[in-house]
Symmetry: C2
Subunit: 353 residues, 2 copies
């Protein structure tokens, strides 16, 4: 199952809105086939594993990191392929929480295949936390990325902060971008940095959809992101210049008006997330500063935190970091060095303030 | 040499003001003797290794983590023991920076023993960083321990902070106390918590000397630390009540007056550190809050930082953390989990603000 999960991870950034899944077929203590779901619309892990077989799978066992599907979706049901293959046992890490996809185990058992569920369930759930959280919450899963000094400053007194993260960390951020379907930064960041928000240091083809929330239309019309037709700008009727520019064909980005302009940010975020979910966007990577980060924590909207911590303690007067209205805590987190920068990563939960 | 360094570490907390040293004797690819400096006044590592020999050491090589001494100190010179043993080669990690102790390699070479220096030098220097830094700086090496939330808060708005560190982390702090000769907290901490500052959760016999800097004599006369005759309280002539209580024999602690009361903290700290160095105290563990931490960083007085980071992000209004007048950075640091609390540990250096 460990191998199945390793294989599953190879689909990172390619399978959404599907989960990542891996499968390994074992007979007499040896692996005789393996596969993973490599890309949306491509065959599922079970089918790939069966196709890779180097021996007759009769009496063999399949280890698969998610319940095999029994429905016709983008591909035919995996349960059919399993039954035809004559594999005799299936070990499943986790039942599929998706209403359409679940039920595969029952189908296999009816066909006389022995099934066991629960081996490395936690690891499988963690691997696809975006998929599961999103289904449960009916909105994209939100990953917040922040970079701070040890004493939680986002920039020095003079505003300089480019040295908070090491080059290795900044490169890894491009990989994280590629693991999400959409990316959001605050309008202030667009105004200051005119960023591209792509995964160019990792794999350009996995660049996420840039998303901007710009209630009042403060974004400069010459911003690079507005010339990217993938970009979605959520705004309100009060952003007349922006809406006009779109009508006149001056910008390539999609502009979606979701309010009159009198709504507060929490209401607008709610509308934006619903719209993104409707577009099958399951994951939103927020590369905010401390301001958008504190807002999201205060609203209980952060599901996963990527916190890069540089080795410095900034001096008095530096720009402060997170100061949300709500308390938040890692439930479980891991650590990794990227050069001299530490990445704290894990699931977070908001606590009563 | 790796083994020699492992052995050396066993002396942690027992050898000060001497460094920790380990020695391994190898012949024909096999270890035939090993030892370490286990306690101040006990034999040095080289002598322990020679005493443990299970074979004739002729033609053998000794790996030793510090240059063998050639002077009569608390014990006879190690060079004598080495020459008598007929060991033919000595591999030394690091030359001894202590003016009295250096010169051993020259003595050995004169006696016809082949000597090489520099194998795992960095590791040997790190192991005894307290010893080397203290000699160089002519004051105790200062280790600052702090506990903070992810967003650098030392306590919640209501002052509650007992959950910042996990029980595992708090237990490890007792081990760290035991690795230092003296421990200091701010007077405010004494007033609030009446702490004992010992190593009871690790090894009571390695408890450090409690040190308090109390310029104005604010410490309550009934504080437990004042009834500990090991405690040293540095104060000034302005602390009349405290000085009087000492004269009247109401408190067991030593009270040292080092100023008139008009001096600033930097000057008083300078005097206190000189006095501690004169007492052969090479290491001071400061378990301060953010205030004493920020002061020490601002004065460039922190040599090693132990920063415990709990998994929480505290809400707006919580008590802030480090905010020094000077910028500081880890030069090299390591990470470890203690329950859900992370320890960032390493050498720090102050940078131009």
């Amino acid at each position: 199952m460990k191998r199945a999960l390793e294989l599953a991870r190879r689909g990172l950034g390619y399978t959404a809105p599907n989960p990542m899944v891996g499968a390994v077929i074992v007979k007499g203590g040896r692996i005789i086939g393996e596969g993973y779901h490599s890309r949306l619309g491509h065959p599922h892990a079970e089918v790939e594993a069966i196709r890779s077989l180097i021996e007759d799978p009769e009496d063999a066992t399949m280890y698969v990191s998610l319940e095999p599907c029994s429905h016709h979706g983008r591909t035919p049901p995996c349960t059919d392929a399993l039954i035809q293959s004559k594999i005799s046992r299936v070990i499943v890490a986790l039942q599929d929480p998706h209403p359409k996809a679940r039920g595969g185990i029952a189908v296999l058992r009816e066909a006389g295949i022995e099934c066991h569920v629960g081996l490395m369930e936690v690891q499988s759930r963690d691997l696809n936390h975006i998929f599961f959280d999103s289904l449960r919450l009916r909105r994209p899963c939100i990953s917040l990325k922040l970079a701070q000094s040890i004493n939680s400053c986002v920039a020095r007194e003079d505003g300089s902060s480019k040295w908070i993260s090491s080059p290795e960390a900044r490169k890894y951020v491009h990989r994280l971008r590629g693991a999400h379907q959409a990316i959001l930064v605050g309008v202030s960041t667009v105004i200051l940095d005119d960023p591209r928000l792509d995964s160019r240091d990792f794999d350009m083809s996995r660049s996420p959809v840039p998303v901007i929330m710009d209630r009042q239309g403060r974004i400069p019309l010459k911003a690079g992101l507005l010339q990217n037709k993938e970009t979605i700008v959520y705004t309100t009727a009060s952003a007349e210049n922006l809406l006009l520019a779109k009508l006149n064909g001056e910008i390539s980005a999609e502009v979606v008006s979701i309010g009159s302009g009198s709504e507060g940010y929490p209401a607008l975020w709610d509308l934006m997330l619903k719209d993104l979910y409707g577009r099958e966007i399951r994951s939103l990577f927020v590369e905010g500063g401390a301001e958008v980060g504190s807002f999201l924590i205060s609203e209980g909207l952060v599901d996963w935190l990527y916190l890069f911590v540089g080795p410095q303690i900034f001096a008095k007067g530096s720009l402060g970091g997170l100061s949300p209205a709500m308390e938040m805590s890692f439930q479980r987190h891991s650590l990794e060095f990227f050069g001299d920068t530490i990445l704290l990563e894990g699931r977070v939960s908001c606590l009563p303030a």
